[in-house]
Chain length 194, copies 2
DNA sequence: TCGCACACTTGACCTATGTTAAGAAATGAA
DNA sequence: TTCATTTCTTAACATAGGTCAAGTGTGCGA
């Protein structure tokens, strides 16, 4: 492990919260457990309670659920330097409806529900970081909702290409289609008309 | 004003954060300014920076934007005991794209950006409350996104009737249609087939 | 290096919802 | 009470995107 201040997680926290002390950094890092997960492994399955929230050091994950007809619906795709979990299950500590799966071999940091709750008391600055993180996540989710309601599939595809072009390099189009809220066939037709 | 502990705002904060001291309560209440706003008044217009976040004591508000064709798209409708703002503009302190409008005569509490930032330092428990609030808002937004992508308009209408039936008593159907992501004509057809 | 999943494309047809336009019903100000 | 405005409904027609079914590649494990 690199020196705390050079650590990726700390770097991203400091982007949003200033004046984190050395002690805080150490405390934070000690609470997170690094894990390595092979491609196509489930970190969470329906009916399990989501025990961890994950920071992606390197890799790629998706979260999705399977509807009554057996169709997968993807609601998150995450690459390096982002957070993933099923927050609904994590924060309520009740069974999840979702799968959480690696799409590539991934290096992750995870923190358990109990440890994070403690950590909020020990390092209030971390709670600030999460307040800001959820705030931004909420704003993004509303933007995505807006686009899904009121923009055409073509526009949503172009927006995604522009803002998350890297995902197209690493994730099969079937998953991207589902994330965009359309069928793979529709995505294929959109791409044909460049 | 009633005694702090009886105050609606404090009541809702205590629902999620325990052990708020009397002093904290007083500090919180002193930071929020009560205002009364007549029906059909704008609290925010596009290109203004959103200065406040509002707690609705009593009343009804919507937030919406107007697209290039001049069509209004509603993304939030809020009744008593909930929060409303344009968080994107509020937290970045940059110009908004949205309108924020009262749909009924309303009693609100508002806190400014600067005061809230101070208050987070003075009352860390309040920052915890907002962390939890945004967390829940984010989870809700994802649920709504999911429904918009993968459920029919009929199902979304029924879900809304079940979970926010009170809105139908107080808000014109045009607004509800927009909130559901459909046209008023479609909503009318859905309602005809009860 | 073979073969078989998996990923992606294509085409014919279908359906939910949008669009346009008109009118009916409800509300509220004079 | 009346008229104007806002809200809601209805109908005919249009269309984006879904569904079903049949392909064509293509990469990886044996």
């Amino acid at each position: 492990m690199t020196a705390p201040t050079d650590h990726k997680l700390i770097y991203y926290i400091k982007k949003w919260v200033k004046n984190i002390s050395e002690d805080d950094e150490k405390l934070i890092l000690s609470a997170f457990e690094p894990i390595t997960v092979k491609k196509k492994k489930d970190l969470l399955e329906p009916d399990e309670t989501c025990k961890y929230i994950y920071f992606v050091i390197k890799g790629c994950l998706r979260s999705y659920y399977v509807d009554a007809k057996g169709i997968e619906h993807i609601y998150q795709i995450r690459l390096d330097n982002s957070w993933i979990s099923d927050l609904e299950s994590f924060f309520s500590q009740r069974p999840s409806k979702y799968y959480l799966e690696t799409l590539e071999d991934s290096q992750l940091l995870r923190v358990s529900y109990e440890r994070l709750e403690q950590l909020y008391d020990e390092v209030p600055k971390l709670e600030r970081y999460f307040r800001i993180l959820f705030q931004k996540a909420y704003i993004n989710a509303l933007e995505r909702l807006n686009a899904t309601m009121w923009e055409s599939a073509v526009d949503r595809y172009n927006d995604m290409l522009k803002e998350h072009g890297d995902i197209f390099q690493r994730v099969p189009l079937v998953y991207i289609a589902s994330y965009l809220g359309i069928t793979p066939e529709s995505l294929s037709r959109i791409r044909k008309k460049h």
